[in-house]
Amino acid sequence: MNQNIIKRNNINISGKGKKPIIFAPGFGCDQTVWKDVLPAFEEDYQVILFDYVGFGGSDISAFNSVKYGKLSGYVQDVLDVCAVLDLKEAIFVGHSVSSMIGLLASNAEQSHFSHLIMIGPSPCYLNDPPDYYGGFEKEDLENLIDMMEKNYIGWANVFSSTLINNAERTDAAKELEDRFCSTDPLIATTFAKACFFTDSRQDITKAKVPSLILQCTEDIIAPKGVGEYLKRNLPNSEITYMNTSSHCPHISDPDETILSIKNYLINQTELLVGEGTGGV
């Protein structure tokens, strides 16, 4: 069972530290998206990477469109990873929809988590006027899913041709590369539907661990208004506005991302010391 989960979710552990830090990839991507960020944490932390079932190097045979048709399926993946590694008070860094998956997981089993770092989070992508603007109309999201399906046609062969040109890559790397931002339309659209049409606004108010919201400039997937909505409604949360203007700061600007996370964590440690509850 334990070995199964390690294999199923393609868990990889590195780093010299004791305090665990989990990096969870965002929509449709795998753990390779963290490659520019994670070296900065390996000195002081135990760094844990994993893939959701259906993506990257996970065991695709474990994919089940009913279980993974809901956000709860991915939340269970996170809980399974934490349980199999027996994690206590880990820092959870989640990108995009993964930040919300981490929040739901910490609501379900608080003991695994000490802090949440949410990169470009959104509790609800759909507009719900007049009080909430997630940034999308239902039609936009449906068009996006259509676009994903259409790109599957174009992409079916792209990856293999790319690989031929990169002869120096090992087979394992090829395997990983091949599934980067999974092109399986069933898995990608199942995940897309689970993510985009879920409304977690009720869940954020029940948050149990402190969290950092990393808000990028001009992030069209998680607009500023959404980040501020979160700041207001998520207990024990802080918000950091980043200069980078994308939805993937860990890719477009890994240095600023690393700095923002570390600044927050240092402050949190000082807070703990200041309160006399002992340091990390």
Binding site: G26, F27, G28, C29, T32, V33, F136, E137, D140, L141, N143, L144, D146, M147, M148, E149, K150, N151, I153, G154, W155, V158, S161, T162, E177, F180, C181, E218, D219, I220, I221, T244, S245, S246, H247, C248, I251, S252
Partner: protein, 402 residues
């Protein structure tokens, strides 16, 4: 920008690391219906993307170009200055200076084809899904059918067992009923032979003949209405009563009155179960050579004198169990030796054409009583074979030779 690139038959655009437009060729500016490139340069790429493409660029394009340094054949839709969506294919590569070069080819026609392909795939998926569903339903129906078939089979087996049990019970009951019948009497003074045939296992006919004293005999024949189990049950209760009465030498009027009274009493509180019966009772005194009889609604007995003349012992009363408080009156006549009497139930007379019994008797007056009995019996069986329908009533007859 190179003049060739400016007017190349494809869109050309370069992007900064932060996705801002650095340069754009004339072909793409025209495609996007902007008056000049000046309105686009320095703006974020999002300005020319549809809503869904903006998300797609973030989710797929940027991570891919970062990881692989190139993107091939990405489908996107651009948004023109006039708000029209333009489906395009995009190839891009990441340069050493972190600039991104994109080549864009509009694909209106190919897009329509791909839409059709996708629709066809969706239709096929839907059809396959529906087929699967129909198949499942069919399997479910088959399962139900099989279980119903099994139930039917089981209930058939139960029925067969029940039928077998019932048959066994009926055969046993038939034996019991036949045990109640008296044996033939044959001596110097009198011969009494009987024939008894039930239409079903059990008969609504019952008879008895008894030697009351050395010279006196009592002979009774009853036909309870209907046939089968209910009638047979009534015959059995009547039999136990008449056997007692006749054996004690009670007068014919009293025998009949008792039987009549018994039937009235039996059904007085239960009209639904009401049964009546026809009966004929004879006492024969061989010393005085007299026959005394009462006929309660029964087919007339036929008396054949030694000289061949036939007489009928007609009904003297209505059937038993019909009218209450009837007074029974017997009739008496004398006979000479060699006289024969035939008692029968309507199952016998109705099996034949009228007067057939008379003819059979007349025709067999010279043969022995046993042969006459066989003759009638054979005639009955022949009729039964000819006309199945005549076999639906109980048949019984008694032949007496004095």
């Amino acid at each position: 920008m190179d003049r060739l690139i400016e007017n190349a038959p494809c869109g050309f655009i370069t992007l900064a690391k932060d996705s801002k437009i650095l340069s754009i060729n004339e072909t793409l500016v025209k495609l996007l219906q902007y008056p000049s490139s000046e309105e686009l340069i320095g703006k974020h790429l999002n300005i020319v993307l549809s809503n869904s493409s903006r998300v797609f660029i973030q989710l797929y394009f940027l991570p891919l170009i970062k990881a692989k340094h190139s993107v091939e054949e990405m489908y996107l839709s651009l948004m023109s200055a006039n708000g029209e969506e333009i489906p395009i294919l995009l190839n891009a590569s990441l340069q050493k200076n972190n600039e991104i070069i994109c080549v864009i080819v509009p694909m209106h026609k190919r897009n329509a084809l791909e839409d059709e392909l996708i629709n066809a795939r969706k239709a096929a998926e839907k059809a396959s899904h529906e087929k699967e569903k129909a198949l499942l339903e069919l399997e479910e129906a088959l399962k139900i059918l099989k279980s119903q078939q099994q139930e039917l089979l089981e209930s058939n087996q139960q029925n067969a067992k029940f039928k077998l049990d019932t048959e066994r019970e009926l055969q046993l009951a038939k034996k019991i009923q036949e045990t109640a019948l008296t044996q033939n009497i044959i001596n110097d003074n009198i011969k009494i032979l009987s024939y008894y045939h039930a239409s079903k296992a059990l008969s609504g006919d019952i008879y008895g003949f008894y030697q009351i004293t050395p010279e006196k005999y009592g002979i009774i024949l009853l036909d309870v209405m209907g046939h089968g189990i209910s009638s047979a049950l009534v015959t059995m209760s009547l039999q136990s009563l008449f056997q007692k009465l006749i054996s004690q030498g009670v007068a014919p009027e009293i025998v009949m009155r008792e039987l009549d009274g018994y039937l009235h009493e039996l059904f007085q509180n239960n009209q639904d179960a009401w049964h009546y019966c026809t009966a004929i009772y004879l006492t024969i005194d061989t010393s005085t050579q007299t026959v005394e009889y009462i006929n309660a609604g029964h087919p007339p007995a036929i008396l054949q004198k030694k000289n061949g003349v036939l007489e009928e012992l007609l009904a003297t009363n209505p059937p038993l169990g019909t009218f209450e408080n009837i007074s029974f009156q017997s009739k008496t006549s004398s006979y000479t030796r060699g006289t024969r009497i035939l008692l029968y139930t309507d199952g016998v007379s109705e099996a034949f054409m009228p007067n057939t019994l008379h003819c059979l008797l007349s025709g067999s007056s010279l043969v022995s009583l046993a042969e006459t009995k066989e003759l009638i019996q054979k005639a009955l069986e022949d009729e039964a074979n000819k006309f199945e329908k005549y076999n639906n009533d109980d048949q019984c007859f008694i032949l007496i030779e004095l």
